[in-house]
């Protein structure tokens, strides 16, 4: 490995096409996942610039070097155009997407400039940085392993760049890079465990990181949940301590919707006017931990009805669980819930909100409900009447309802009679409010799949659900799920049982074994992801401090963390260094003595080349410094005979000869006198 340390030549290592390909492999694989996230112009631009540089490397196209005026100005123009294009694409918004796409296209321009050693290093470090930017978008197991492979490729490029071409093959570069990655693993794990994790905005993601998040929101417009109905994305995962409740009882409560304009439903901010109402438990309390995917919303999900919040947030008056700040990253929290509770109190503000309907909306619905009110007026009878109405009039559960004509509630109840949970829930609440019964819509999730391997529940976006709650004089707030009247299977079997058959996998639909195998495979994958989320992504500052305390430190703070990180890394590197030195150190004393002899000569400017034999070295030395002939010849012959001959007598002669050998930089002038 003869790398020139001459500061003048080091900047002038010629960049060969092979170096270009290595550089491009690192950059391209680091950028590849971004190609799916950004508009085609961005990656087309990168590919075009890369193509230009590589064609230039083979002399097919001229490159925009400084001497080539026209092309050089074209390059400057391209850079400006890039800034402009990205500014327009992102509407001037500064954030994650704009930043990453700017970096990506500028990397393409920098690649075009790859001329000298310095450019190669700059591009290599940019490639490492591009790897980091991928974590703004995905932190899953496959992407982590993919990016590890990318880092290996980039490191392989560095190795290739620093070794003469004839000495190592491409495979050897990659193997060495992989070995270096493995050697770095202990330090990586230590840094992961001990590097201080500072919660707060410093480590938070940019503002636009959640533009693509799907999930529930604080409002509901009829027709919106269909999209969720078909999404397999995981919403959250739950691990129960002990037996879980039945599928039909697993209502996961999200935001409660009070206000409606006839079409959309919204949450209601009661401010501080409404205090929390006492909750009386009537059954057992289930304890569980919930791992919630980022929603960018403040509300949290919990099994209806949450009774033990701990310090995870606070409950609103309508039993919605609120987090201290929007959920921007995956969080894990423990809760206790009781299925049967008594919620008997209702404030004036809530009473008004639970009966409010937009004026002049839903005339037919109101007429129907008012007829029930006139006939008896008992709220319970109105509930029964409404459910009977839904059951007896040929209502159909479908995820693809026809578009409503006119008033959506009237249209659903009296014309189309086809819809899904939110149509049923909204219409039922309108019916109740028209009949004078306080009612509200509750959104959340229902059911969830049990993973046999890890023993936890997976609740996906397609499990999103909406139901109703009515306030009955003696029972208080009571859950009514009008969807169950029409599609009972929705609750006991989950949404898969009734979802559109077009979404099912046609190939394995009729093959029970294949179906089971498919299920087991997906369960295993979910289990892996769950553990990854829990132990790797979920390793928070709090858990880090807990670990430090567990290790025996009384006070766990940043200083302790930093100090233990420093000591651990030094310890690991030191141990590995000692191990390496031990395996390298010459065990043969002859070699040690001869190495000392060579060092002494190196000090006077006559180092031995690694491939130079002892006799050849001696000849060279004597040719330059005839005054050293006697000791050099003596030591060299002694060494060669002892090391390569079959005698070991007089090995100590070499040691003393080398000790006595003190070459001077300037040869003594013998003929001065």
């Amino acid at each position: 490995m003869t790398v020139s340390s001459d500061p003048i030549t080091i900047g002038k290592t010629p960049i060969t096409p092979e170096h270009g390909w290595w550089c491009l492999a690192g950059l391209g694989s680091a950028l590849a996942p971004h190609a799916m996230r950004f508009a085609p112009p961005m990656w087309i631009c990168f590919i075009a610039l890369a193509l230009w540089r590589m064609l230039g490397a083979y002399g097919v196209l001229p490159l925009p070097i400084r001497t080539h005026r026209l092309l050089w100005w074209l390059k400057q123009g391209l850079a400006l155009a890039t800034f402009g294009g990205i500014y327009l694409t992102h509407h001037g918004q500064i954030g994650r997407d704009a930043g990453v796409s700017l970096l990506s296209t500028l990397v393409g321009l920098k690649f075009l400039e790859l001329e000298r050693t310095r450019d190669f290093y700059v591009l290599t470090f940019l490639a490492y940085f591009l790897v980091l930017t991928n974590f703004f978008y995905a932190q899953s197991v496959p992407s982590a392993f993919y990016l590890l492979a990318v880092v290996t490729v980039i490191t392989g490029g560095l190795i290739r760049f620093n070794t003469p071409r004839d000495q190592v093959t491409t495979g050897a570069c990659l193997r060495l890079a992989a070995r270096m990655m493995l050697q770095a693993t202990p330090v990586m794990v230590t840094a992961f465990l001990l590097f201080p994790r500072i919660p707060g905005p410093l480590w938070g993601l940019p503002q636009d990181a959640f533009t693509h998040t799907t999930g529930l929101s604080d409002h509901m417009t009829l027709g919106e949940i269909t999209r969720l109905g078909l999404s397999d994305e995981i919403a959250f995962q739950v691990e129960f301590d002990g037996a879980p409740p039945r599928a039909a009882d697993r209502y996961w409560r999200g935001p409660v919707l009070w206000d409606t304009d006839g079409r959309s439903w919204h949450t209601h901010d009661f401010g501080s006017r409404v205090p929390n109402h006492p909750v009386r438990r009537l059954g057992v309390t289930y304890r569980y931990a919930l791992l919630l995917e980022p929603t960018n919303e403040r509300w949290l999900l919990g099994l209806d009805t949450v009774t033990d919040v701990g310090d995870n947030g606070h409950l609103g008056p309508d039993q919605t669980l609120w987090a201290p700040q929007p959920v921007k990253k995956q969080i894990r929290y423990a809760l206790g819930s009781t299925l049967a509770v008594a919620l008997n109190e209702l404030s004036d503000a809530e009473y008004a909100a639970a009966l409010a309907l937009p004026p002049h909306a839903h005339p037919k619905t109101r007429a129907l409900a008012e007829s029930w009110q006139r006939s008896g007026g008992d709220p319970a009878a109105s509930v029964t009447g409404a459910l009977d109405f839904l059951r007896d009039n040929g209502f159909v559960y479908t995820l693809l309802p026809p578009a409503p004509i006119g008033d959506p509630i009237d249209d659903f109840l009296f014309r189309s009679r086809a819809g899904f949970c939110e149509h049923f829930a909204a219409s039922f609440v309108v019916l109740m409010r028209s009949a004078g019964v306080p009612a509200r819509v509750v959104t959340g999730y229902q059911g969830g799949d049990f993973n046999e391997i890890s023993g936890h529940f997976v609740i996906r976006q397609r499990d999103a659900h909406a139901w109703a709650e009515v306030y009955l004089p003696r029972q208080g707030w009571t859950r009514v799920d009008p969807t169950s009247v029409v599609a009972p299977g929705r609750l006991s079997l989950g949404i898969n049982a009734i979802a559109d058959p077009r979404t099912a996998l046609p190939m394995i639909e009729h093959n029970a074994d294949a179906l089971r195998a498919w299920r087991e495979a997906t369960d295993l994958w979910d289990a892996v992801n769950y553990q990854w989320s829990r132990w790797v992504l979920g390793y928070s500052g709090q858990r880090q401090l807990a670990l430090i305390q567990h290790l025996g430190f009384q006070t766990a703070n940043l200083q302790v963390l930093a100090l233990s990180l420093l000591l651990s890394v030094c310890g690991i590197v030191g141990l590995m260094g000692i191990a390496t030195l031990r395996s390298r150190a010459p065990t043969d004393p002859l070699v040690r003595h001869y190495a000392l002899f060579c060092r002494k000569l190196a000090r006077i400017g006559l180092p031995r080349a690694p491939q130079e034999g002892a006799l050849a070295y001696a000849q060279r030395i004597i040719a330059i410094r005839p005054d050293l002939m006697d000791p050099v010849n003596y030591i060299t012959r002694l060494y060669a005979t002892l090391r390569y001959g079959n005698t070991r007598i007089a090995a100590d002669l070499l040691e003393s000869a080398v000790k006595r050998f003190r070459p001077r930089r300037v040869p003594p002038r013998l003929n001065r006198a």
Partner: protein, 313 residues
Amino acid sequence: MGMEPISSGAAQTVLSRLLEAAGQVILDKHEVIKLAVTCLIAGGHLLLEDVPGVGKTTLAQTLARLSGLDFQRLQFTSDMLPADILGASIYHRDTQAFALHRGPIFTQVLLADEINRATPRAQSALLEAMEERQVTLDGATHPLPQPFFVIATQNPLEQIGTYPLPESQLDRFLMRLSLDYPGPQAERELLQGRARREMLVSMNPILDAVAFGQLQATVDRVHVADPLIDYLQALLARSRISSDIRHGLSPRAGIALLRAARTWSLLAGRGHCLPEDLQAVLPSVIGHRLTPRDTALSSTELVARLIASVPIP
């Protein structure tokens, strides 16, 4: 035949006389003569690659004469048959039996001139005999004389109607050398002096078959220390992963290298083998066994790079 080894000092004395005498005939080619003698003593065969007229035949004759060995010259032609090399069984009417008519191969030093002119069939007959050191005719095996040393010459210039030896056959030669043109001073002497062939006749052999056997036995006594084996293995391993080389060196090449290096040590009068000895024989022993990936790269350059990339342990 006496196979008792002699001391390395005595061996050096004999060998330096041999080299000196050969140096009088072949001028200015000290290094090539040394390597050729090494090849001869190591018991390997030699491939000379050169243009005609630079003294290939003279070299072969000189070595044979000075070593006191029989010499035969065989000019290869395109119509040559294996029987022309090996000999044949001929029926004798008077004895009413087949008798072996020995071909020119039954000699101690065989100069196979322009081996690439013969067809592959004739070539492989010679090469097989070289490898086996015996000839099989009509089911009977006839051992070749001891020692048996083939110097094959090959014209490197591409010519019509030649069959260059395939790579697998090149492996049968311990060394490949080339004489190249003499220097101006040597050439002048050559032009003014006596004819080389005449000189040769007047020279006395320095070795005989017994001395030759003793020298070969002495080669086996040259000590090879573990560090040298380490270095040899590092060279072999390097050749197998180098991106310059298409196929790395075989174990057979490793054995050949060590044998040649030990003989070289003996020429220097040493009873042990040094890394320098390996480096000295390396170009001629492995030059013809390596194929560069980049055809523009000469084998000399290839070997130089190989040596430069392996530190001596």
